[in-house]
């Protein structure tokens, strides 16, 4: 499934633990798009910080959008297996998380993971 993406991460030198986190986040983002917008795209790219390298994942769709982002991001790590949008989970898997959404026009989620 996310084999190509994972190869990018391996090439960047991420640890196996981080690669699993990245692959899981990609899977979860793809699932979000499928269940809420039907179609969209996921782009991967390497990013260079001041003294580190990382991976940037941009998941965007033109679906219905999210009217209450705060609600969608509400954290609930003690409620096991919360099956809402999975976005809080993705946020925890990655180092940086950014979301923009416009009702009726779609959603874009940008996440980054830096190499340790």
């Amino acid at each position: 499934m996310a084999a190509d993406e994972v190869r990018v991460a391996i090439k960047l030198g991420f640890s196996s633990g981080d690669i699993t986190l990245i692959a899981t986040a990609i899977s979860e983002l793809a699932r979000n798009i499928l269940s809420y917008a039907r179609q969209g795209e996921i782009l991967l790219r390497t990013v260079d910080g001041s003294n580190r390298t990382g991976i940037l994942i941009v998941a965007s769709d033109e679906g219905p959008g999210i009217s209450d982002i705060r609600q969608a991001l509400r954290d609930g790590f003690s409620t096991s297996g919360s099956l809402g949008m999975g976005l809080p989970g993705v946020r925890r898997l990655m180092d940086e998380f950014e979301i923009t959404s416009e009702p009726m026009h779609g959603t874009t989620v940008k996440v980054k993971k830096w190499k340790q």
Binding site: T24, R31, L83
Partner: protein, 121 residues
């Protein structure tokens, strides 16, 4: 990728061979349930050693499998979750709290044997 299901005594062993699509998971759920009923199995072991990504759908389906099997009076043990996968799962909030887990196939079988021994007493 289809998941082979092996019958071993009164137990069923399903060994995941690699990445699973949603359709594979649903098929596995149907196949396991059908067999538990048909073969009157007392326990099911789901071996996830070869799985390297587990997302919310997979986790939910596995929990459903365990719940449904319990309703048939049988027990389910999930074995072989890799350390990296386990950590990614809990970060996503997928803790499979109601499901029994064990290190590997051997441990899973030991758990089921123990359980059926207790049931006989």
């Amino acid at each position: 990728m289809e998941v082979p299901i092996l019958k071993q005594g009164s137990y069923l062993i399903a060994t995941v061979q690699g990445a699973l699509t949603d359709a594979d998971l649903l098929e596995l759920r149907a196949a396991l349930l059908e067999r538990v009923v048909r073969m009157r199995s007392q326990g099911v072991i789901l071996d996830l050693t070869a799985l390297d990504v587990m997302d919310s759908f997979a986790s939910r389906t596995i929990r459903e499998i365990a719940d449904m099997i319990r309703l048939r009076g049988a027990a389910t043990v999930i074995v072989g979750i890799q350390p990296e996968v386990a950590f990614a799962m809990v970060q996503l909030g997928l803790t499979l709290e109601e499901v029994t887990t064990a290190l590997d196939l051997e441990e899973g079988l030991a758990y089921l044997n123990q359980k059926s021994k207790e049931a006989r007493i």
